[in-house]
Amino acid sequence: MIDIRAAITRAHHEEWARVVAALTKRFGDLDIAEEAAAEAFATAVERWPADGLPPNPGAWLTTTANRKAIDRIRRESKRDDKHKEAQTLWDDPAVPSVPVGVIDDERLRLIFTCCHPALAMPTRVALTLRMVGGLTVPEIARAFLVQETAMGQRITRAKAKIKATRIPYRVPSADDLPARVSGVLAVLFLIFNEGYLATGPDTDPLRPDLTAEAIRLTRLIRALLPTDGEVAGLLALMLLTEARRTARVSASGDLVPLDEQDRGSWDAELIAEGHRLVRERLAAAAAGVTPGRYQILAAINAVHTSARDMRDTDWSQVLALYDQLVRLDPSPVIALNRAIALAELDGPDVALAAVDRLDHRLAGYHAYHATRADLLRRLGRSQESRAAYGKAIDLAGNTAETAYLTRRRDQLR
């Protein structure tokens, strides 16, 4: 019985996206595909415990879902003959697609459709979690602290827009591919970050369900686009961050900063996998391929996860990587993180001067004030530090971070 339940969960993880993608391709309609896939899995939950596991669960699910979809279309075509239009909507053969070197997996089409730039970011996130990740609407609503009905409407509206505006169901052409892949990665990174530093006063500080889902989906993209450097970079970044998850929050629910983390509790297997990916990208960079931001961020995390402790960390390497990142992305948030590395190399006074130059652009960002507070504390400027901690606490959205900042402020004399 437990085996069957585990088999259903595994089938759901492995087959959901494949079933939805295959049905979307066949029927040209995301709504039909989603509903039929959900019905097929519900049927599996009902039947498999009694009938036993089918020899090929994926094939069973696809066949069952196909039958459900045809039933629905038959039912609807009695009322409405328009369904035939849907079948010709997408995948116009006149439009070139599927560049060389890209596996034409149905799931890849599904991902690109869900992450289309004509959809708003929160919509892309919700649609990707539903259609590709197989999360239910209530699960997604809970993950983003949105009312279930509102989340349901968001997904319904998205499906309607995809249909009405003919957002294509295919892999973009070679010209568009890099930009579109980076759009997909932005969605996955957002899901990961919400799990890594969850926001909201009543939320757990860490949401391992979300980080795990983001990693699972990124692994899928990595399998589908094995030569893309940024995909490898993002996966490495997630793995190296996830490896430190349990060390990042103390038993009392405080965020534990890097220098106080028990490095022995980091997940060695995830770190090894992340480092392998980073080495792969370093080899590509040595061969002349310019790394993108995820690869650089992954490399920074590889430096941290290679060090025995804070002092052992190769800070000049970290700073060099941040310099590379600043050239690629001159945003003040990157400059703020660079300043943190600068403090370790050139001292807190130099870093504080760099941070203060960012003032006008980051005044509403909690990490800006938290960084200033820490640098002021190290410089012995307690009064100013206390005020900066206060601002950071007011702006921080993560419960563990608020607890940590409060503790640090109260330690000041």
Binding site: K82, E85, W90, D92, A94, A164, T165, R166, P172
Partner: protein, 103 residues
């Protein structure tokens, strides 16, 4: 085509729009296009009640308004968006893309 500034189209913009229109026709996307008069010259009629009520001016006062349009044929949104991007460059204005309702 969305107008969001004070001045009229320049001769360079007119020339660029002509080039873009020629391309739409050559590539088979062209259906129809036209420029619209400014909202100052708009008149709104509401004949849902007893008799037609005529109001001087646009139904919505806004700094941004539709100043022209293209009706194009495109097999899917990606093609339409690419054309709209080139159209925006040509007319030097924002362009909103909307599908026609399926008949």
């Amino acid at each position: 085509m969305i107008h969001d500034r004070g001045d009229d189209a320049t001769s360079e913009e007119h020339a660029a729009i002509d080039v873009f229109n020629d391309r739409l026709q050559a590539e088979g996307h062209w259906v129809f296009a036209g420029g619209l008069g400014v909202p100052d010259n708009a008149t709104v009629i509401d004949n849902r009640g007893e008799g037609a009520v005529i109001t001087d001016g646009p139904f919505l006062e806004s700094k941004e308004f539709v100043i022209g349009f293209w009706i194009i044929e495109a097999p899917e949104l990606d093609v339409a968006l690419k054309l709209a991007a080139d159209g925006s460059k040509a007319c030097n204005r924002k362009v909103e893309v909307r599908p026609f309702l399926e008949a």
